[in-house]
Symmetry: C2
Subunit: 487 residues, 2 copies
C-alpha cells in the first residue's frame, strides 16, 4: 500500500501452523466474481433480502472531535455532533446501513479498511510496502486468531516478565508455556531475549525454539512501562536474528504521557499541541522497524472510542492476512455491521486530524488521572492505565515470620494474599501481581520453583476509573494497611 | 429457568474435549464480586472511563412490527418507528449506550439474555428446566465454539447427506471427517443413523464413535427440507440411545412455509394469522423433546433482522454454557455492544408479540419468493431460502458419452461442471451441489469412492434475493441450457 520505495515483505510462511496451512477458501468464494457479470441472474447467493431488514435510518450524537472535558467532573458537551448514517452521504466513503447489515466481505468494509491503511501509513509508518489490513473483533479476537495462525500445541511463547493474563488463558489449555524475558525500566530486555534464544538448544535440548513474541509494548498491562524507539529496534533485530514473529498488542499506544512532573498539575488541554506534535511525542510502533513484515500489529478501538465496539484491525504481511482471513470466514465472519457503521461514519465525520485531536485530548484526560495517583510513592507510568507497585517484603516482620516458619510452600504469595485481603477489608481493591505471572507449567507455579526474585511482590493499580477524590481516599486507605502489614 | 415441573439436565460433561476441560476462569473474575461492596474504592478494574466514550445519543428508524411489504416492489413504509436508545428509558430492561459500550459480562447483557430465555420458553419450550442462554456473534461464531467445546482432532461428525459447507470448512483442517446420514423427504433418517451407530464398532474397529450430530433441521441449507415433529423425536431418541449431542443450527426456523399450492398465489399478509396461530404452524425445535439437555440450539438474528448484527445465542445445559462462556472470555468477549443495543431496544420496543408478527410477515415474504420459483419443476421447499434441484444424468447423451469414454475419474462431476459453466455463460448462476458434499477424507472425494448415488447430480437455487422478473427470466435461461445439455 502506497510507499513503493520500501522493500516488500519476505516469505515467513514457515511460521504458519499445520491447521492454518490446511484451511481452504470456501468454494462459494469462486462464485462471487461471476455474480458481478453484466446481466447475470444469480440464484447462487442465498443472502436474506435487504429490503426485509427492519433498519432504515440511524444516527448517533457524538462529542465533537475537539471536545476537552473537565477531568474532575467530566460531562458531555452541550452541543453534540449528530452523525446520520442511513445512507452514508458524507463523502461517499463511509458505510451505509443496507451494506453494513448484509453479509459482506469477511475482511471488513472497504471504507474501514482504507481508513485503517491510510492511518497506519500516517501514524505507524511500516518499513515495508505491502502490508495489509484485516478487521478484527478487537484485540481479544485478534490474539486468538494469531495463536490459531502460528502456534502448535505445546509451543513456548516469549512474553514479558509480567504479562496480560487473558492472553495466556487462551493458550494454557493448548499445553503452551511462557518463556518470560527480563524487563527493565525500558521494557523487555533485548540482551536477555537474545541470550535465551542463543542458548536455547543448549538449555532446552529437544524442545522447539520459541518463534512468537507476545508483547504489550506501550503502557504495558500490568506494568505501565513503555518501550522507546531504541529498545524496539534492538528487540526487532533480535527477532530477525532468531526468526521470531512479533505480535504487538497495543491498545494503549495513544495514551503515552510526558514524564511525570510533580510540580506541574496536568490539566487537559494544557499541552495543547497540533496533531503533528502529538504524534511526534509518541514512541513508534514496532512496524516502524519492520522491513521484513514479521510484526503482526493488533489495533483496537476499545480504549480510544469504547470497548463495546468490539472492533479493531490487524496490520500484517499479505500471507499472514490471507490465512487470518480464511480463519475469519469460518470462525466469526466480519465484525458487527453496526460497529463498522458507527466507527466508519464517525471517523469520516471527524476526519483524520479530528480523530488525532480526539486522541491527544483523551491522552491528556488519562494523564491527569495518572498524575492524581502518581503523587504517591510509585514509579509513575509513561502510558496506559496502570501503575505497577513493587513491594520489598523483607522489610515486613510479618513476612519474615511466615518465611522463617518454614511451613509455607510460597511465603511471598501467602503474605501478598494476606495484604490483599487486608486492603479489601479496608475497602480498597487492587489487582494481585500474581495474576500477571507468566505460566511456565505446573512445576514452575511457585515463587521459588519459578525462579522469581525472592522477597518481592507486586500489585496493579488502575487509575482509569476512580474519581480524584476516590484516588486520594483509596491511596490513604492503602497507606494505612501497608503500614500495618509492614508494622 | 421457570418451568420447574420439568426434569433437570443430566450430566453430559464426558462429551467436553480436553482443551475445553482445562480452561480456567480468569483470576480477575474473583475480584468482580468485591467491587460491589459498599464503599469499596476499586483500583482493580482497568476499564476505560465511560465519560470518555464519544457516543452519547443514538436512535434508529425501524419498520413498525406489523409492516407488510409489497413482495414485488418492497419499499420502506413511510412512517418508521424511531427507537431512541441513549438512556434506554423504555421499560428499564433494554440496554443504554453507556452500559453497552463498556466492557461487560461476556455472557451478554442481562436484558438480551432475559429476552432470549423468555422467548425460548414461549417458542421452543425445552423439555428440561435448567437450560441457559449465552449470546454469540451469530451461528458461525457459535458453531466454532461448539466444535471447540466437543470435538477432538480426527473426530467423526454426523451430518446430513448434503450439508452446509462453511460448517465443514471449520473442522476439515482439524482432521475431522463427516459421517453422512441418509435423508428422505422428512430430512435425516433416524433408522439410518441408528444403523450406523449400532454397527459402528463392527464396521469401524478402533475408530472413535461419533458423539456429535450437526444438523440444519429447518429449511436445510442446501436441500430446503424440514424435519417434522415425529422425525425429530425419533432422531432425538436415537441420540439418547447412542449418547450423541445434537447441535441444532437453525437460522431458518421462522421461515417455515405452508405446502406449495400451485393454484394459490401467495401474497404477504394473505395468511394473516395471530402470533399464536403462526407459532402453532411451525415444526418444533429439537428442544421440545430434549428432556436430558443434550441439544445445543444455535439461534441467530441474521435471517430475521439482518446478518450485520452478528448476534445470536446458544440454548444449552448449564455445564456446556459455562464452558462456552470460558471460551467466549478468551476468544471473543461479548458480541458488539452496538448490536446488543440495537437488538435489545428494538425487541423491547416491538414487544414479543410484535416480533412474532414481524416473523410471520417475513415468512410470508419469503414464501412468496419461493412460490415464484416453485412454479417450475422442482420440489418446493417447506422452509428457508433454497430449492434443491435433483437431476438424472443418465438421460443425457452427453453424460453417457463422458461415462462410457472411461477417461473421466468422476464422470458425474465432470458433466455437472460443464452444465454449471454453460449456465453461467447463459447468465444464470446456480450453486453446484458438490459444495455441500460431506467431507469424508481424501480417499472418498469422488462420486464413486464416496459411494454417492451414481448418475445423479444437484444444484442449489436461492430465491431470497432475485426479483420476480429475474426469477422468471433466470428459470427460462436455465430451461434452455438444460435442454441443450440433455439434448
Ligand atoms: C493488553 C491488552 N490486550 C487486549 C485487551 C482487550 O482488548 P479488546 O477490547 O480490543 O479485545 C486489553 C484490555 O483489557 C489489554 O489490556
Ligand atoms: C445453515 C447455516 N448456518 C449458519 C449460517 C451463518 O449464520 P450467522 O450469520 O448467524 O453466522 C448460515 C447462513 O448463511 C446458514 O445457512
Amino acid at each position: 500500500m502506497a510507499r513503493t520505495e520500501l522493500p516488500v515483505s519476505i516469505d515467513l510462511s514457515h511460521h504458519i501452523n499445520a491447521l492454518s496451512k490446511s484451511r481452504h477458501p470456501s468454494p462459494l468464494k469462486d462464485i462471487i466474481k461471476y455474480m458481478a457479470y453484466d446481466g447475470m441472474i444469480s440464484f447462487a447467493g442465498g443472502l436474506p433480502h435487504s429490503s426485509l431488514f427492519p433498519f432504515q435510518t440511524a444516527s448517533i450524537g457524538v462529542y465533537p472531535a475537539s471536545t476537552v472535558l473537565d477531568p474532575i467532573n467530566p460531562q458531555a458537551p452541550e452541543k453534540l455532533d449528530i452523525v446520520n448514517f442511513s445512507k452514508a452521504e458524507l463523502d461517499g466513503q463511509a458505510l451505509s446501513i443496507a451494506t453494513a447489515m448484509q453479509y459482506g466481505s469477511c475482511a471488513g468494509d472497504p471504507s474501514v479498511i482504507k481508513w485503517a491503511a491510510d492511518f497506519t501509513n500516517i501514524v505507524f509508518q511500516p518499513a515495508y510496502s505491502d502490508f495489509e489490513i484485516l478487521l478484527s473483533g478487537g484485540n481479544t479476537d485478534a490474539w486468538k486468531k494469531v495463536v490459531g495462525l502460528l502456534s502448535e500445541q505445546g509451543d513456548k511463547i516469549l512474553v514479558e516478565a509480567h504479562t496480560y493474563p487473558s492472553s495466556q488463558a487462551l493458550w494454557i489449555p493448548m499445553g503452551c508455556e511462557a518463556v518470560p524475558v527480563k524487563v527493565d525500566s525500558h521494557g523487555m530486555r533485548s540482551d536477555d531475549m537474545d541470550a535465551i534464544l542463543t542458548s536455547w538448544e543448549a538449555n532446552n535440548p529437544g524442545v522447539k525454539k520459541p518463534h512468537l513474541l507476545y508483547i504489550v509494548p506501550v503502557g504495558s498491562n500490568p506494568t505501565g512501562s513503555t518501550m522507546l524507539a531504541q529498545r524496539k529496534k534492538e528487540i526487532y533485530d533480535a527477532c530477525v536474528k532468531h526468526d521470531v514473529i512479533i505480535c504487538e498488542d497495543d491498545p494503549y499506544f495513544f495514551l503515552q504521557y510526558p514524564e511525570y512532573d510533580s510540580g506541574f498539575a496536568a490539566t487537559p488541554g494544557s499541552n495543547a499541541s497540533t496533531p503533528e506534535e502529538y504524534l511526534k511525542s509518541l514512541a513508534p510502533s514496532f512496524l516502524k522497524y519492520d522491513f521484513e513484515g514479521r510484526v503482526i500489529r493488533l489495533d483496537t478501538f476499545s480504549k480510544t472510542l469504547s470497548p463495546g465496539n468490539r472492533l479493531g484491525y490487524f496490520v500484517a504481511n499479505p500471507v499472514f492476512i490471507e490465512r487470518l482471513l480464511r480463519a475469519t470466514e469460518v470462525e466469526t465472519q466480519a465484525p458487527s455491521g453496526w460497529s463498522q457503521l458507527v466507527v466508519s461514519n464517525l471517523l469520516h465525520n471527524w476526519g483524520t486530524n479530528g480523530y488525532i485531536t480526539w486522541l491527544a485530548n483523551l491522552r491528556d484526560q488519562y494523564r491527569t488521572r495518572r498524575d492524581y495517583m502518581a503523587i504517591f510513592s510509585f514509579v509513575p507510568p509513561s502510558a496506559g492505565m496502570f501503575i505497577w507497585a513493587r513491594f520489598y517484603l523483607t522489610n515486613s516482620p510479618r513476612f519474615l515470620k511466615i518465611q522463617d516458619s518454614g511451613k509455607s510452600v510460597d511465603p511471598e504469595q501467602e503474605f501478598l494474599d494476606y495484604v490483599w485481603a487486608e486492603l479489601s477489608k479496608a475497602l480498597v481493591l487492587l489487582t494481585p501481581g500474581s495474576y500477571y505471572t507468566p505460566w511456565q507449567g505446573k512445576d514452575k507455579a511457585l515463587t521459588k520453583t519459578r525462579g522469581s526474585e525472592p522477597g518481592v511482590g507486586y500489585f496493579r493499580l488502575a487509575f482509569s476509573m476512580p474519581t480524584r477524590e476516590e484516588i486520594y481516599m483509596g491511596v490513604n486507605r492503602m497507606a494505612k494497611v501497608l503500614q500495618d502489614c509492614w508494622e
